[in-house]
Assembly symmetry: C2
Homo-oligomer: 191 residues x 2
């Protein structure tokens, strides 16, 4: 998605060799006009897949997921990082390791909002190690729902998550795939 | 907002005398078509106030804030519950007590995204004790920004937050004001 890549080149900041700060438009301040374009692009890629529910994880995926859901005319469910012990039977639960925060979260979705009748599109802002995405896929599987695929805004293609999931047969559509980045040379994209 | 009150009556669930579960459409599963109506109603109430930025707090405010921002044609900034010590000088920081989780959070916004040039509309899903809203107002004040007011989806009018903030001169617009609620009689609204 050229509009997105141009925006990353213009407003993204690289720290070291693996931190890409896009907090001026994606995950702290949020440019909802850009989100509308992103949502339309996800629809173009997943149109006709029967998506009736979008799943994301708090917090920074929620805005993109909601605006994307307007294009799909479906509701969003966001998985919650749980701070309390799970109530057995009421939620699907999985564990996600956050490399940024150096800890493991319990992540839950109420059983009321995901089930075998659903065809799910997972939406998230970043894909790097793939831990969050694998957790969300686990929740979809526990629910017996069908997975249409994952729509990712920025994939760090030099990290292993995307390739590992595609090798498992998961359809992963990333709108900007970063091949490499550095403070000196900025961001280089795949293709 | 009658559409919202009807939805709360239909799909909200009261637990005890002070928990109103609206997780099927507002803060776990999210009905973005309803959010569009909510956003248009906030615009109707705050049109002409010069709002150029919407401020909310993670996580459940983000979806409503993003869809509302489409009506206002402005960006959203969401305040983050910080897990790391604040980097002095780079962020505005305040403390918010969560009664639900029984703890105090440091809540931060980058100084890059809020300043004296901004006229801010705060958006959140719930107003009860007013702790989160007071924290967000503190951040707006630290930034030297102008506060247009706060747009709240559901106010528990039997709790003190709304009245305390209105008494301080803050414009608080709540789309559904709950006068009382109980498991037997459901939800009763102000007016």
């Amino acid at each position: 998605m050229e509009l997105l890549k141009a925006r990353i080149r213009k407003d993204g900041t690289v720290k070291g060799n693996d931190v890409l700060k896009v907090d001026s438009f994606l995950n702290h301040q949020m440019d909802v006009a850009l989100f509308e374009e992103i949502g339309r692009e996800f629809l173009r890629r997943f149109d006709g897949c029967g998506v009736n529910k979008i799943l994301t994880i708090e917090a920074s995926g929620i805005g993109i997921a909601c605006v994307t859901a307007q294009s799909f005319h479906c509701p969003v469910v966001f998985a919650k990082k749980s701070q309390t012990k799970n109530i057995a039977g009421e939620v699907y639960s999985t564990q996600v390791e956050s490399f940024t925060h150096g800890r493991v979260y319990d992540v839950i979705v109420s059983k009321k909002f995901l089930g075998p009748e659903d065809t799910v599109l997972i939406i998230d802002d970043f894909l790097a190690n793939g831990a969050a995405l694998e957790g969300l896929i686990d929740l979809v599987n526990q629910a017996g729902a069908r997975l249409a695929g994952a729509g990712i805004v920025i994939e760090k293609a030099f990290q292993p998550g995307g390739e590992r999931l595609r090798a498992k047969g998961i359809r992963v559509e990333s709108l900007a795939r970063v091949k490499s980045m550095s403070e000196e040379h900025g961001v280089e994209f795949v293709d």
